[in-house]
Symmetry: C2
Subunit: 338 residues, 2 copies
């Protein structure tokens, strides 16, 4: 037996990755990829619409098949992994979670904006009552200081979460930002702490390592980094890097490399590279949904859309405030003219 | 004036990047890209065949145009940057360097295997005599311990090098490997120290940051990470990350992003993603030229080629030892059968 520290890896190719293929996974693709991940030794396999249970809609994009079919496709092939679902309160409901359990889900990640953990109380309690592993997941954690992340993580813990996650949903963090948040949370809670990276600044693997150094023991990734914009942490690369560093993941490196190259890469719609638009979202630290609005406002006021994004990031604007982008652009253009 | 620490960036899109487009840059492409980089404020623009001056050959791949045409195309548009060439002793000669100077080169990087800095003495002396900035460049620095890197860097310094570089040519280093080598060299020499990353382990940006934290002040990159296999450090992302961290590069982030997306991306032959083969080269820490040999030997002995690469890495085999790959495969297969 090795004495190496164990890191729990969560593969979210079949959940967060689905954004990058417009949620068009077929049952066969899900079964094949989930089987491959399971055989490679992946501990947690997350399967849901990209925006979680019941995310399939006109707003968030329709899945090719029902969530029930997705989960059954995965659970029919999984032998060892924990089938995991994502639930965003306000999108997914208690009924959705019951359906997921009936389809074989054993763990749920309840995700909220980093300042809104309180809306997860009922869902986490329900998950625990139903015998699931419950994971609290704080999205866009770069937007607040570490002490606020701690406060919200403690809420999750108080509701009964078995694990709390810090998610860099915009890919906006530098390794020191990750370390500050993870180490503060690790110090403050008695449950394991996880980290979810995005690659907007080309730092997803480095940030995952920074999280582990700061005490995180749960880390997310996707095959080939499949995900919206710049994508996620490339899990097969992370496995190899963790091997080199002497950590234990229980994952067979070659097998997960083969899942990435033979099963996931062929169904990708585009290569997972860091182009300018996703880079700027990470650089500015803003929502993906701001991008189109910023480009439109830039054209109207003859500005560089990147300056608008940076300003939105400085003002820490959040989803739902898209209407104000035009005001910001107007103010910027006045300032330029002055 | 800002008090931020200045980092000198060397863009090698038009040298190391040329491997990834089979050395087929046209004079027009070189002029357009060099002009864009110069206007963006890039300090050093390296232009040469991927294997340095006189690299154009059947062995290393023929360039589309002569090195003279390449350098003239660049120097005709460069207003502020230092036009830099690469010279590998044994490939490039004194005559090649004279040609480069006549075409506007102001700096030369003399590159040797990490244990062979001694073959650079004449070239560095000659470069200094001719008024060039001379940069010693230690390739495949992961293969030896930090004290050996120091010994070789000191040789460069003793020959008159103005800067010494540690290059992770195989993309095999973890951030701690970079820090160990860079800090040892920084402590031992009185000239600035540089670092050249590759992205095989998805750590090129992180390793560049690690080098800077350890005292390096010269860092290489290419637009979109263009380079052989997994590619180089994506320079426009690095510029943004350095901006966020408060370093000064003198480079306009938006302008270099535009060079990457508008000028370099359209001529790339393939997206710069980390597929399995380049990942394994970094993981095993071996030469790219070993790949095909390892796959052939694997087929012959019914092995996974990745196991052969890992074994070659353990044995620290170097270029020129390709013949021994079949022996290694034979020994591995015997061990498996036993």
């Amino acid at each position: 037996m090795s004495n190496a520290k164990h890191i729990h890896l969560v593969d979210t190719t079949l959940r967060d990755g689905s954004h990058a293929i417009s949620h068009q996974y077929t049952a066969e693709q899900i079964a094949t990829i989930a089987a491959g991940l399971d055989q490679a030794g992946v501990e947690f396999i997350e399967v849901s619409h990209g925006d979680g249970l019941a995310g399939s809609s006109i707003n968030y994009g329709r899945s090719a098949i029902s969530e029930e079919e997705m989960l059954k496709a995965a659970s029919s092939v999984i032998k060892n992994a924990t089938l995991t679902v994502l639930l965003i309160p306000g999108i997914g409901t208690q009924e959705d979670l019951e359906m997921a359990i009936n389809c074989g889900a054993k763990a749920v990640r309840v995700a909220t904006h980093v300042t809104e953990a309180d809306i997860s109380q009922q869902h986490i309690a329900m998950a625990k009552k139903m015998g699931l592993k419950a994971i609290g997941f704080l999205m866009l954690s770069h937007m607040v200081e570490p002490d606020k992340v701690v406060e919200q993580a403690k809420l999750f813990e108080s509701y009964g979460a078995d694990v709390v996650y810090v998610a860099d949903s915009a890919g906006a963090m530098l390794p020191e930002d990750v370390k500050a948040r993870i180490s503060a949370v690790v110090d403050a809670v008695n449950v394991p702490v996880g980290f979810h990276a995005h690659n907007n600044l080309t730092l997803a693997t480095a940030n995952s390592l920074a999280a582990i150094e700061a005490g995180a023991t749960y880390i997310d990734g996707t095959c080939r980094g499949l995900g919206a914009g710049a994508g996620n942490c490339q899990i097969e690369a992370l496995v190899g890097v963790l091997d080199k560093k002497g950590y234990h993941t229980g994952i067979d490196l070659y097998k997960i490399m083969d899942v990435a190259e033979d099963l996931v890469e062929p169904i990708m719609h585009r290569p997972q590279v860091v182009r300018n638009a996703p880079f700027m979202l990470g650089y500015a630290g803003v929502y993906g949904s701001f991008l189109l609005h910023a480009y439109r406002a830039a054209e109207k006021f003859n500005l560089d859309p990147r300056d608008i994004l940076v300003e939105l990031g400085k003002r820490k604007m959040v989803g739902g405030q898209e209407d104000m982008i035009i005001d910001v652009a107007y103010q910027l253009s006045k300032k330029r003219g002055a």
